[in-house]
Symmetry: C2
Subunit: 148 residues, 2 copies
């Protein structure tokens, strides 16, 4: 009953990975061409743009990045003078990160571009398909959270 062959093209982990890889690659061209950002840098920019001020740990949680990625992305954005660190008053291990004017400007430019990208992508789907992908992704997210 159990088939002895696995069809890679139908295997969900593979399909998800390939999908994400393609989409992410396509989207990354935007911030890469325009600003030379890496993905961790883009996520950092995006997180700070969204929340205003965060610690590195918070950034890692929000954007699902390992702390070394965060550390390096923050260092690079700081080097560009797109963000500044402010030491915490009470806990000297902690730094609060925030975008500078330049960083914020880049963020503000990126937001509509990112949204257009997403809209265009979803625009290639029918209304039902859009509902399906949103429902399905949300369901998997929930399923994965629960377990681990």
């Amino acid at each position: 009953m159990e088939p002895d062959i696995l069809e890679l093209e139908s295997f969900l982990p593979y399909r998800l990975y390939r999908l994400a890889d393609t989409v992410s690659r396509e989207f990354s061209r935007i911030y890469k061409d325009r600003y030379g950002l890496t993905r961790p840098e883009w996520r950092t920019l995006s997180g700070l743009g969204q929340h205003g001020m965060m610690t590195a740990t918070e950034l890692g949680e929000q954007s699902a990045m390992h702390k070394t990625k965060v550390s390096r992305a923050v260092a690079e954005l700081e080097r560009r003078r797109w963000l500044v660190r402010t030491p915490d008053e009470n806990d000297r291990r902690v730094e609060h990160l925030a975008l500078t004017k330049a960083g914020l400007a880049a963020y503000r430019e990126m937001v509509p571009v990112a949204m257009a990208f997403e809209r265009e992508l979803l625009g290639r789907l029918s209304a039902e398909e859009r509902v399906a992908i949103m429902t399905g992704v949300a369901a998997l997210e929930r399923a994965l959270e629960e377990k681990s």
Copy 2:
């Protein structure tokens, strides 16, 4: 009207990436712990197990890997004596790849494990959610193929 903030957690490219990353990471533990395979190596094993005999180029197309990845994965599997190369009769640039007994044995062991993994993952979803994710993923795959 256009909001000036992007909510990363709702941004489809990010969600897809994170989902794929989590799933793939979890699944990779299986073939990594068991055989010490990398993802390209697993995909190569899987492709050859599925098709019996392929060239490196075909492998790259089937499993969406860059040719350097294929080249390295093939070299490693060959080193393990899990696959052999046979030169093509007519075109001496081409090699036909096939699994050895040992490679096939590993593949046969992996297939049910992989399927169980997928089944367990989907099992955490309701029937409707399963339909949704399948429909949605298929729709996006189609959308991405068409364009590029």
